[in-house]
Structures are given as structure tokens and as C-alpha cells.
Point group: C2
């Protein structure tokens, strides 16, 4: 059973949704990831972070056009879904994408 851990998003056997019906566990795991990308604001935040190769929240609030608590909420959702990770640097938090998680979702849509 290797490093099987029910609570961690990362260690699911990576396979496509297209080749055979996926199990409930796998579906739940992937659904969490897609849910994080299912909001336009969050998708833009993710895109901004990814395109810039990392960004702090202070650089996101103004271009996204939402309140600071809203941005904080969305970054938390993205982080909880495992799509981004935040490094605290002094007063700032530097967000960056988690390539493995992104790849897992991309692979799920690939045959």
C-alpha cells in the first residue's frame, strides 16, 4: 500500500478519467482540485500567480478588483486544494503553483 494517506491530495495513483470509470476516492480528490478552478476570480488569481512564477497577495488585490478578505479567502481555497503554496517572507506571503498537483489534474483529462 506504499505511502497511502487518505488526507493528502498528492499521492493518488495518477490516471486518466477517460480510460476507465474512476473510483469514488479518486473522483473526490480530483473534484476538489477542479472545484478550486471553478471560480473565475480564483482562476484568474491562479493564472496571475502561475504566469508571474509567483506573487504576493498585495500584488493581487488591486488587479483582481476584489476586497482583500476575498482575495485571502480565494488563495486559501487554492492552497487547501493543493494548487498553490505560500511561503511567508516577512510581512508578505509569496504564493507559487504546485506543479505536481497541476499535472495530476491535467493528466486526468488526458487519454
Amino acid at each position: 500500500m506504499a505511502t497511502r494517506s487518505a488526507s493528502l491530495p498528492m499521492d493518488l495513483e495518477c490516471c486518466s478519467v477517460l480510460v476507465e470509470p474512476i473510483a469514488e476516492d479518486h473522483a473526490a480528490e480530483l473534484a476538489k482540485g477542479f472545484a478550486a478552478l471553478a471560480d473565475p476570480v480564483r482562476l484568474r488569481l491562479f493564472s496571475m500567480i502561475a504566469a508571474a512564477g509567483g506573487a504576493c497577495s498585495c500584488d493581487l488585490v488591486e488587479p483582481i478588483g476584489k476586497s482583500q478578505p476575498t482575495v485571502s479567502h480565494h488563495t486559501k481555497v487554492l492552497a487547501d486544494a493543493g494548487l498553490i503554496t505560500g511561503e511567508k517572507a516577512g510581512r508578505w506571503v509569496n504564493w507559487s503553483v504546485v506543479p505536481e498537483r497541476l499535472e495530476q489534474l491535467r493528466a486526468a483529462l488526458t487519454s
Copy 2:
């Protein structure tokens, strides 16, 4: 402006979320697609349809373990998101995936 049509999901210039910050239009479009995949039941339905190369609703209700109206609701959500399409054949509806839409979402996560 070519075949620009605001209401159709298909004709967005296809590009990745990762290379540069995406526009609000594009974000809304992709978010709708990901939202359709953001539910475990729906993801399993989609997976069953994709893996089988098509399926009718009657073959989905029992394995998915949900009521018939719930399955009907989810197939409608997937269809509205452009991920599947249904061909009515007599009493049955044959659902099949829409490869272009799937590719659009996959490409958005690819650098």
C-alpha cells in the same frame, strides 16, 4: 473578429492559464467547464461515459448510486457546460463526450 460569439463555449482562442494572466471572459468560460467537473458524482458520470465511449442514462443510474432525477440533473449540467452531448435514440439518450471542450480545458492547464 472572426466568429466571435459571446454565448458559445467553443470558440475561445485556446491558450494556457500558465503563460500569462487570462482575461475575465476566458476565466468565466473555463470556470464553467471546471465547475462541471467539480462534483464527484458528475466526474464519475463523465468518466463512465468517456470510458465506455458513450452511454445512456439508464446505464448510469444504478452504478452511480443516485436517484434518476439526480443523474438527469447532472447530465444536464455536464451538457450545459459543453462537456457531453446527448443524442436521443428512441426512448434512450446516448451521451458522449465532446472532445474539443475537453481539449480546451486540458490545454488551459498545459504550458
